[in-house]
Symmetry: C2
Subunit: 200 residues, 2 copies
């Protein structure tokens, strides 16, 4: 079947946050509301009282020593930015902070060799544990799209983007596949609409 | 039908470049190979002999006075970057330059009130002239996705991204709709594969 069946070994997803180590970022996890506010103030470089994607990006380092991608930061801000201003306030930031930590935890769980990247074999296992049954060719496509130079590995920000897209497209497919047949018949404009809506 | 029929009034697409005016950028069109090299040198801020998306972005201003988006610059570099290095050399840059000018010309043609943006009514006409027959709801979705705050207009860089995505998804649909019925039956993984491949 096409997704998300519960299996005995599958971890709850997303799972609880736990403290972030240096490899995955230059920030400390907040243990109190006061900590969140301090971290918010440090990230809010222009002291506007709101954090935009650029400010978030400047504060996030992936396991390969690079900043998170524009795409990933815009995607995540967009999820918590209820007013569609392209920014989050301190309360939305707290939710976003928890969300990022959840992804880091998921990523670290699948990064079995603790290399800071997910390689093809690890990604296959990751999606299996999430309940997907993807072909090797599809997994390879995901890796290639993320690591277009070497085709070997995925950083945590790339992993977040891929997983969010897969989740969105899966949901879009699922609501059209009412009888759970694993295939749908779809018209041109609806196809375009779904494909464009889910893309980030 | 779902796309691209030739119609009497449709302009060739993309069409020939012509000189760019200040509204659409701070660059002059090259009339000789020497001009291309001079512009290349000006954009290549780190003097690496190659131009990356960030350098391109710094040189491109849309009709609303903003730099082109990261997404648009990465998309365009990726089209001419045959070695998948994330950069273009001077020869690839010349092709890219022509490509950008073609899009600017298309955009200006559809920006009938010369506002520097394409509004909903203009976008409807633009896609009609390209041979598409989209519903008002779909056009509205495109505008909303680009202008997520005001839902009113699209800048040239947003227009390029939308058009390239529509072209890619149309092509992906068309090759599966062998009998030109305007609908396809598609399995889950293939659906995901197409949706992810076309997204930028």
């Amino acid at each position: 079947m096409y997704s998300g069946e519960e299996s005995a070994e599958a971890p709850a997803y997303p799972i609880q946050a736990y403290p972030v180590e240096g490899r995955y970022g230059n920030y400390a996890p907040p243990s109190t509301n006061n900590d969140v506010q301090q971290w918010f103030a440090a990230v809010d470089k222009d002291h506007s009282g709101r954090i935009n994607a650029k400010e978030l990006q400047a504060a996030l380092i992936n396991g390969q020593g690079d900043h998170f991608s524009d795409t990933c930061c815009q995607l995540m801000i967009g999820m918590f930015d209820k007013e569609k201003s392209g920014t989050v306030d301190v309360n939305q930031f707290e939710q976003l902070y928890i969300y990022i930590n959840q992804w880091l935890t998921v990523f670290r769980n699948y990064d079995r060799d603790q290399s800071g990247s997910i390689e093809e074999e690890e990604l296959i296992q990751a999606f299996q544990q999430m309940g997907y049954r993807f072909s090797p060719a599809f997994i390879n496509q995901l890796i290639k799209k993320s690591d277009f130079q070497n085709h070997k590995r995925m950083s945590v920000d790339q992993f977040i983007v891929v997983c969010v897209q897969v989740q969105r497209f899966t949901e879009a497919f699922r609501i059209r596949d009412k009888q759970m047949q694993g295939s749908i018949t779809i018209g041109f404009e609806e196809f375009l609409s779904v494909a464009l809506e889910g893309s980030v």
